[in-house]
């Protein structure tokens, strides 16, 4: 975790600022590092952004130990955007025009991702949206210059809907933050589940304010609808409140519960021994891998970072690997060459081999679906299996309709 402190950095900063305003172009010579601009919410959402950063740092170390990319070392320039789209745009401009980065990565919040994506399209810069989940990233607002690594809201919701269709539950209640991600997640779940099992009925929809849940009231409202099953999309500080009130008031007793992302360590670990049991969730069961690439990644990460990996660690690592593979395939650091290399790019990441689809620039990275349980005073996923992202995307014709830009 190399970060400049304010004091040591200030001197260099003055020099850098002077140089920057005077505008010396960064010469791309042999042996100079290939720089990637990484924009993220390091102060706004540190719990998510820091493991992601560590994942990138680990991958970069590995890549450079093996000789780098195109014979040059790879370097990520990390910048904090405070979770503000306007800041992210300015930082993107700075990274690409002053720092001499060759492409952009990053963002967790979908609005920041969408803002960068729109800029990338306009300035013809490649942007790999590593974490933002919004379907709009590659579909309704998709563009040729933006690629996305993580499985989208639609894909993860479809995985849960498939699991839900196999249960006896007929009436469903949903609870999701009142914001774009929540709405997408509920819409996708409804669409896929209704297709698989037409008799299901949605009897209640709750929309708490993002990070402002009134958990007691939400639980009462869900209970009032008496559903067979509950579909939960709340996350962050809302999730523990919802779980605690729901458990205390007996909401989850005798009901199937499906939780989007709830199985990711970022969400499970803060819950400690109060993690819910028996929920069907998407997540990342790093603790149970054996003898495969995933297990190797986990042990290497623990050695590198001194802590257990989060889902963000895996995404960060895969981001850096994808970038390296794309530039290697492109054979150059020109934007258009990198863009073409990303089309149909195949990369080996710990989760398996993934492809960046030519049709919509979405990678086929999948997710793990399993059931939650308690083990040693913490929540884990059991009976899990890896779902390949490619199997949870709509057919090509639908995708073409969803993606007007191409």
């Amino acid at each position: 975790m190399h970060r400049k402190t304010v004091l040591t950095g200030l001197a260099g900063l003055v020099a850098a600022a002077a140089l920057g305003i005077a505008g010396l172009p960064a010469a791309a010579q042999d042996g100079e590092p290939i720089k990637i601009g990484e924009i993220n919410h390091f102060t706004r959402l540190p719990a998510f952004a820091e493991p992601y950063r560590t994942g990138i740092e680990m991958a970069v170390e590995e890549i450079n130990a093996e000789g780098g990319v195109l014979g040059r070392p790879l370097e990520f320039v990390f910048r904090d955007d405070q979770g503000e789209p306007g800041e992210a745009i300015r930082i993107a401009e700075e990274l690409m025009t002053r720092e001499g980065t060759v492409m952009l990565t990053g963002a967790i919040l979908s609005n920041v991702g969408l803002a960068i994506s729109s800029l990338a399209d306009r300035r013809e810069w490649v942007y790999l949206a590593s974490e933002p989940l919004a379907d709009a990233m590659v579909w309704s607002q998709g563009n040729p210059w933006t690629f996305r690594l993580r499985p989208s809201t639609y894909m993860q919701a479809a995985m849960l809907a498939e699991a839900a269709a196999q249960t006896d539950a007929v009436t469903y209640a949903t609870i999701a933050p009142n914001y774009a991600y929540g709405k997408d997640a509920v819409a996708a779940f409804k669409e896929v589940l209704t297709e698989l099992k037409p008799e299901v009925e949605f009897v209640a929809e709750q929309w708490p304010a993002l990070f402002g849940i009134d958990a007691g009231a939400e639980v009462q409202a869900l209970e009032r609808a008496k559903p067979d099953a509950i579909y939960n999309v709340t996350f962050g500080p809302d999730l523990p409140k919802f779980v605690r009130e729901g458990t205390t008031r007996g909401l989850f007793e005798g009901r199937e519960v499906f939780g989007l992302l709830s199985g990711e360590p970022e969400y499970m670990e803060p819950l400690g021994d109060e993690a819910p049991e028996g929920w069907t969730v998407t997540g990342y069961p790093w603790y149970d891998f054996e003898g495969d690439a995933n297990a190797e990644f986990v042990s290497a990460y623990q050695e590198f970072a001194g802590e257990s990996p989060k889902n963000g660690s895996l995404v960060g690592y895969s981001t850096a690997k994808s970038v390296a593979a794309a530039i290697e395939k492109a054979g150059s650091t020109e934007s258009d060459a990198i863009r073409q290399a990303f089309e149909g790019l195949e990369v080996a990441v710990p989760a398996g081999d993934i492809t960046y689809r030519e049709i919509d620039n979405q990678s086929t990275l999948g997710a793990w679906v399993g059931t939650t349980a308690l083990r040693d005073g913490g929540g884990v996923m059991v009976d899990w299996s890896y779902k390949n992202g490619a199997d949870y995307l709509p057919d090509d014709e639908t995708v073409q309709e969803l993606r007007p830009s191409e």
């Binding site: 025009t97 708490p208 009231a217 605690r244 205390t248 803060p270």
Partner: protein, 624 residues
């Protein structure tokens, strides 16, 4: 029936923590006249300190002891902040202290991150109160009942303290008339410190008490702040019974809103707030402000005068250098300068409102974001060309300002500020929750300038022309009859009215003008970024503008844009480092202490001492 009763109980339980935080804020404002923006941070500290104490103190005694102790600890931290920072700036212009509290927010955010780490902490459960009680068949958590019991106890204790003790008498006296209390020989300093201690202790107590219902996370400071402002404003600033009534009202309303209007919970809260304030501008149990009570504190403002030729020449030269930036600067410096110029126009519009009009708005983001949304909606939904959209942005924002101002100007001082905040929040919640039209959180994307302005350099010149033009127009207005009339209405409303000035209409014009220029800045912003999201309407955007205006110097003509330029550049530099919020926060606090007149005010003082400029006040000049 059982369900409705259970819902009512949930609402009452939620009211507990809210009341404690709100009553603290209300108390502090009532006595010290400080709008404590950092109150949410003290609430967050209460939660974190409580969490840490509960890890070491065992059992039920430990649990409740930890809650009390965290109140005490947070109270002490608050008192420390008062002694170290706020005590030095009581004589600064009205509401200037909120800049210092904003610095405290930044410092606390980074310290909490450094001490407790980034992961959300799940609050421990109350020992012995883990289960539920069945009330008419409906489950009600035992801890909810405990909260319902604790809240009146705290409220009663507060009431006893205020109504029955000598300290309370002094506090009430200070709420009514600070100068008189001081004249009677009461040590105001300790009274203020004591009040700050109590107010912050209440916030800390609230934070610790809600632990079993949630936990501690790094976003909770701003999450609670908006709610607490709503409660305090509805109840009436400075009124404890009002805070109690309003927190119960809001909490119960929320619970029923969740069940019956699940899509619109946010909007509901702000609609209620606006409705209450339109009916009673001073809140349910607040009292009307005594005229002049919040008037000018500190040195009277110097009369303004046109800049002399040396200053004009300097400014013209600086503008020429700036205009040549694309020829000598890097491509990125042009982008950065565009951002700074746009923000300067936004800050200058608010500065005019505060400096000339004496009207402090806490909701100026409504017009900045409003202008941005007007332009973006026209382009995205109606395919309107950029030139028209950019013209529509100030017009739309100006019309909105006219409507908001017409209602908000029924109140004055801090109540006016709160009303503007209410409207800004209402607009924000509407944009956020009316996704079909506004795109909700996903915002409006792909709003780029027309071809002729699409290069960064071309757009820089557009921003330069409009921002500098706007700022110069504002400056010109200060020297025009409108400016004189506005300052008259600000300094001596009664005399202004007696001389035939329609003060309220004047203020409305000023408000609309400020809104118009903020809208222009917003329109410039949206095309420079290509997208707009509800962030631009958030409470923190309004705060940014406020901080900048106060940092620049309210009682100067150029404070707005100077503050904007300094703040924006400082932020751009600092965000490159770890713990930049701590640094920026300390920097803000330092400026507050060293230069209570703001950057421009302090610079002017220095220049005068160095003999570079004349004293503006001829009387003082004669005296020398």
């Amino acid at each position: 029936m059982g369900l409705i009763l259970a819902q009512l109980l949930t609402g009452l339980a939620n009211a507990g923590a809210l009341f404690m935080v709100a009553s603290g804020l209300s108390l502090i404002f009532g006595v010290t006249r400080i709008v404590n923006f950092a109150h949410g941070s003290f609430y967050m500290l209460g939660a974190y300190v409580g969490y840490s104490l509960m890890q070491v103190l065992p059992g039920a005694v430990g649990f409740w002891g930890a809650i009390l102790l965290s109140g005490l600890v947070v109270g002490l931290i608050g008192a420390l902040v008062e002694v170290i920072v706020l005590r030095r700036v009581y004589a600064a212009p009205e509401l200037f202290q909120l800049v210092a509290t904003f610095g405290v927010i930044l410092v606390v955010q980074d310290l909490a991150l450094a001490i407790w780490g980034p992961t959300d902490l799940l609050g421990p459960r109350a020992p012995g109160l883990r289960g539920v009680v069945r009330v008419m068949g409906e489950p009600v958590p035992q801890y909810d009942l405990a909260l319902i019991a604790i809240t009146p106890v705290v409220a009663l204790a507060l009431w006893y303290l205020i109504a029955r003790t000598r300290v309370g008498v002094l506090v009430r006296a200070a709420t009514q008339d600070r100068e008189m209390v001081a004249a009677l020989g009461v040590n105001q300093r300790w009274l203020f410190t004591g009040t700050f201690f109590l107010g912050c202790a209440l916030a800390g107590l609230g934070g610790a008490l809600q632990l079993p219902k949630g936990g501690a996370d790094l976003l909770m400071d701003f999450t609670i702040l908006a709610q607490v402002f709503v409660v305090v404003v509805i109840g009436g600033m400075g009124s404890l019974p009002g805070a109690l009534l309003a927190s119960v009202l809001i909490s119960v309303l929320n619970v029923f809103g969740v069940s019956y209007l699940p899509q619109s919970t946010l909007v509901l809260m702000y609609v209620v707030m606006v409705a209450v304030l339109m009916w009673r501008p001073f809140g349910l149990l607040g009292r009307a402000e005594v005229a002049g009570e919040l008037g000018q504190v500190g040195a009277p403002e110097e009369p303004i005068r046109p800049a002399g030729w040396p200053i004009r020449a300097t400014v013209a030269a600086a503008l020429a250098v700036l205009a040549a930036l694309p020829f000598w600067g890097s491509p990125f410096s042009v982008v950065l300068a565009t951002d700074i110029l746009i923000f300067c126009l936004f800050a200058a519009s608010l500065h005019m409102l505060i400096g000339l009009g004496g009207l402090v708005s806490f909701g100026h983001a409504a017009f900045w974001g409003g202008g941005a949304y007007v332009a973006a909606l026209l382009v995205a939904r109606l395919d309107v060309p950029m030139e028209v959209a950019m013209l529509a942005a100030p017009v739309g924002a100006g019309l909105a300002a006219l409507a908001v101002g017409w209602i908000a100007l029924r109140a004055s001082g801090v109540y006016f500020a709160m009303l503007t905040l209410a409207f800004a929040q209402l607009l924000w919640s509407l944009v956020l929750q009316w996704g079909a039209v506004t795109g909700g959180d996903d915002g409006i994307v792909g709003v780029w300038p027309a071809d002729w302005a699409s290069g960064n350099t071309a757009y820089f010149y557009l921003a330069l022309a409009l921002s500098v033009g706007g700022i110069l127009a504002l400056r010109h207005m200060a020297h025009a009859p409108l400016g004189y009339a506005l300052r008259a209405a600000r300094d001596a409303p009664l005399r202004a009215e007696a001389t035939g000035l329609h003060t309220r209409r004047l203020q409305l014009v000023a408000f609309a003008l400020a809104g118009t220029l903020a809208g222009l800045a917003g329109g410039l912003f949206v095309f420079s970024k290509g997208s707009v999201f509800p962030n631009e309407l958030e409470i923190s955007r309004s705060f940014d503008a406020l901080i900048v205006v106060f940092l620049g110097g309210v009682k100067t003509l150029s404070g707005g844009w100077v503050g904007g330029a300094v703040f924006e550049s400082a932020e751009d530099l600092l965000t490159r480092f770890a713990f930049w919020r701590l640094t920026l926060g300390l920097l803000i606090i330092a400026v507050v202490i060293v230069a209570p007149e703001g950057i421009v005010g302090a610079a002017r003082g220095l220049a005068r001492r160095a003999g570079l400029t004349r004293d503006a006040d001829p009387a003082r000049e004669d005296a020398r």
